[in-house]
């Protein structure tokens, strides 16, 4: 089962810089390793991460095989208005996960 941990402040003042943290469970198998029978394990990684704030893209990352398992992202944005922040991870073998949180801006 895929699990994601999201940390976004529930409330913020308008114009305030807020910190966003996301952590997702994923093996990030690079595709260069052999298993204990000597057979190469196929690549299985997250390739894209997108964060949207009220449907506007505010952060995007491309991921590559050298990135460790359970990728963690920390970035910041400016709290402009109340609404929803959504997170979307997509990757190999049709991997797809999404989370969303609400934020109140006063």
């Amino acid at each position: 089962m895929t699990r994601a941990l999201i940390n976004v402040p529930a409330k913020a003042k308008r114009g305030e810089v807020i910190e966003i943290k996301t952590l997702i469970s994923h093996p990030m198998e690079p595709g260069y390793r052999a298993d204990n029978t000597g057979v190469l394990m196929p690549r299985d990684i997250i390739t894209d991460f997108i964060c949207k704030y009220n449907d506007e893209e505010i952060f995007r990352a491309e991921l590559f095989p050298a990135i460790a398992a359970n990728p963690f992202f920390l970035f910041s944005t400016i709290a402009t208005e109340s609404g929803t922040i959504t997170f979307e991870w997509t990757g190999d073998n049709g991997f797809s996960a999404a989370e969303s949180v609400t934020i109140t801006v006063e």
């Binding site: 089962m1 699990r3 941990l5 940390n7 943290k21 952590l23 460790a68 359970n70």
Partner: protein
């Protein structure tokens, strides 16, 4: 050179005074400490969440979940991991937390035991041990467990493997010094199961012990071997009074 230095100090093998004990946490870098401290940055919490789901899931022929007997883990499991390994009357020896969970599975749930180092057993033990975070380690040493504690101490201080090293030579006598650029910790088992960045996953104390034994070029025991449990008991006694950190993060 490193080996020579270790051998040179072997004569002063002595247990670390209680007041001078340090968790591996204190030897880590600022970023790794921050990762452990924040539950939304600590990857070990991913296993804790899985463990919570497993705690509430019915299993085995008895069709019972952990909750059906133990109720809310936040109350019933508080402080439990800090008391393990603990004596099990049926098995006439101490068993560790993973073995306790599997004993429950076979005896109460009529389910197959979970494999050691499998995701499910790690998740359940992380979830149970998480309920003891911040509580002092307090294993019961009495006439029943004392022989196993002594056997654990013997394993800790006995030289083994092609390098002819003992656990104590690194973790009692040379902690704080460097081994291949990384500080040698005192080896207190305060945060297991823990997330090692090197493993890129959560692992048990037995996996850690296995790593060290292979590092000494000795032959590791099979998972669940009594020798590991005796060592675990000694390590927990050695860390008595120190606070549980599960799920800890280590480099």
């Amino acid at each position: 050179m490193v080996v020579a230095a270790l051998l040179g100090t072997a004569a002063i093998a002595a247990e670390i005074p209680l007041s001078e004990r340090k968790s591996g946490y204190d030897l880590m870098g600022r970023e790794t400490r921050a990762m452990q401290d924040d539950d939304t940055a600590n990857p070990g919490m991913l296993w804790v969440l899985d463990g919570e789901a497993l705690w509430n899931r019915k299993a085995g022929a008895a069709d019972k979940s952990c909750t059906d007997c133990h109720g809310d883990a936040q109350a019933s499991m508080k402080g439990v991991a800090a008391r393990y390994p603990a004596f099990d009357a049926a098995r006439k020896r101490p068993i560790d937390l993973e073995q306790r969970i599997n004993a429950c599975r076979t005896d109460r749930q009529n389910a197959t035991p979970l494999p050691f180092e499998g995701k499910e057993l790690l998740a359940l033990s992380a979830y149970v041990a998480r309920q003891s975070r911040g509580l002092p380690i307090d294993v019961a040493i009495d006439e029943r467990t004392k022989p196993f504690l002594d056997s654990g101490r013997e394993l800790f201080t006995a030289r083994q493997g092609q390098l002819n090293l003992s656990c104590a030579q690194c973790h009692d006598d040379n902690w704080g010094q460097k081994l291949a650029g990384a500080p040698v910790p005192q080896g207190h088992a305060t945060g297991y199961p823990l997330y090692r960045l090197e493993w890129q996953t959560l692992g048990s104390l037995q996996r850690r012990l296995r790593n060290c034994i292979v590092g000494m070029r000795a032959e590791p025991y099979a998972f669940g071997a009594p020798e590991y449990v005796d060592l675990e008991l000694y390590l927990m006694w050695r860390a008595r009074g120190m606070k549980m950190e599960t799920p800890a993060v280590r480099p």
